[in-house]
Symmetry: C2
Subunit: 340 residues, 2 copies
Amino acid sequence: IQKDILQNQSHKRFNILTGEWILVSPHRTKRPWQGQQEKQAGDKRPSYDESCYLCPGNERASGDSNPQYTDTYAFTNDFAALQSKSDPFIINDGLLRAESELGTCRVICFSPDHSKSLAHMDTSGIENVVNLWQEEFRQLGSREDIRYVQIFENKGAVMGCSNPHPHGQIWAQSSIPNEVIKKDKRQKDYYENNQKSLLSDYIHQELSNKERLVYENGHFVVLIPFWAVWPFETMIIPKRQQAHIGQLSAEEKTGFADAIRFITATYDKLFDCSFPYSSGIHQAPTDGKDYDHWHWHMSFYPPLLRSATVKKFMVGYEMFAMPQRDITAESAAQRLRELA
Amino acid sequence: IQKDILQNQSHKRFNILTGEWILVSPHRTKRPWQGQQEKQAGDKRPSYDESCYLCPGNERASGDSNPQYTDTYAFTNDFAALQSKSDPFIINDGLLRAESELGTCRVICFSPDHSKSLAHMDTSGIENVVNLWQEEFRQLGSREDIRYVQIFENKGAVMGCSNPHPHGQIWAQSSIPNEVIKKDKRQKDYYENNQKSLLSDYIHQELSNKERLVYENGHFVVLIPFWAVWPFETMIIPKRQQAHIGQLSAEEKTGFADAIRFITATYDKLFDCSFPYSSGIHQAPTDGKDYDHWHWHMSFYPPLLRSATVKKFMVGYEMFAMPQRDITAESAAQRLRELA
Ligand SMILES: O=P(O)(O)O[C@H]1O[C@H](CO)[C@@H](O)[C@H](O)[C@H]1O
Ligand SMILES: O=P(O)(O)O[C@H]1O[C@H](CO)[C@@H](O)[C@H](O)[C@H]1O
């Protein structure tokens, strides 16, 4: 009976990691769409593009040239949003409060091959990316001025990505960002009350029910969280509790790469296109405090709703009130499972 | 010296209404843009479009016909995200929490003229819209099952608007949404500690400094808040503290309409286009509790950054960490002032 209600009536669901609610309107998919259509990503790309500033050997805006890299390559963004050279400052002027935010922005090339995306790479190629993330996380995280390391990817023009060469980014900064603070608080409370991580218990519940499960291997679970906001939002969660990706064992690294390969390739099949998304890893801050309560995870936020050209807009109501979705997590998970 | 720092170095600013920080990277506008270009809104529209389901006299998806309305018109959305017919329920199943969300979605036509937008209407035409908002707020807010009334507009295809006929929406629901809860808490704390509303003191400070002021009339202030997220985000704030729009005097209504006219017309001049945005009014909940601490306000969140076709993307970093902006509130305010 409960399952039925959730597939038919407007309701809200609780995000156990952030403490926020989202509105679900399962009946709303019947609405016709006469609004904006996204452009589809163009034809096949060449393996090397001489005008691409991420391809091996090419020159960048800074005047530096990329090396002839053969698997992955990382460098500091030539237009970094975070700077590390300035002095720290704090401004408190009546009701105006500002503080310096120091840090750095790194660009992470996933492959020398301009034509690829994670969805086309094999597990060992993706393992190279995981290795690079680990290395960057360790190096950046050990810096005195860095308290949080945000690993993410914007894929597709519709997600603000301006270069189709397969790449992600890392922004590392001196304070702990909003979204991480929310997840830190709730994981901490749960751990103190239950001596287990919140996500350990959550994946236990999802694995016994399987309604929202999309994929599983020996070390990782891929699922649509009960509180998903984006139409086909997924999470990759390690089965063993770990605070950050620095703690991955060699075997777990392969499992993580396999999970990424699975979900990105499945996404591409959904609407038969190079599926756009923003993905990111949420993990423990690197300020040296105790984060035993953290259970790191990777999330994918893909905007497409109905087809390769019709996305979900998070606009007026969503900006001013709360996120809203039109299909349920359960029906989205079923569609992804059927494609696999 | 402080002013200089804020125009040149990466820093974070504090939103006094939500308690959240945003990252400001003033140096980042130099970045070249090779990414997605938005389509520009088409040529002039006719005053009446026979295929538009919002024009007077036309038939809608439900089979109902619009009356021959002459100034404004409101009806219940034929594909409402919130339903009011079902029974309330609560689900608590291990770590899964869901609750019914009852309510209604209204469509608010601003004018019978298909070719117009708020930017083209005169003050008395906009006053009719304000009157309708008041009436809807009173009616919906007095319902037992409605605790919050969200008035908003999505303008432009890039903001998910599927019909260019000038219109906004109202979603009224049985619980108080996330964004409103945040603003309620901080306004309440401030009011208890200072016996004045947070925004009274804030506009007092902004009016003495004027760096972020965009426009002012006898009853309203239009400014770019110190903590603005969107490139040309603005707030319209009544000078007299009031918890909700039901408390507007006749004179204040004219002042509010004048402020809306001013900012929407100025936006259109900025990039010489019909300027897209989502706007919304945040005001006191309607659950009958004491909200004397509230100071209602209207915000505009416009996505365009550099031109009519290049917008700011709130994607990877912004979704996973915190909002980030490339131009400062001060330089954006100056540009808007210069256009006026
Ligand atoms: O209600 P509309 O105009 O059909 O839809 C638009 O506004 C809604 C409320 O912000 C959003 O949920 C939709 O994604 C958007 O396309
Ligand atoms: O860094 P890029 O790829 O130039 O820029 C992209 O990602 C950034 C981080 O999410 C965003 O701030 C930009 O709006 C987006 O266009």
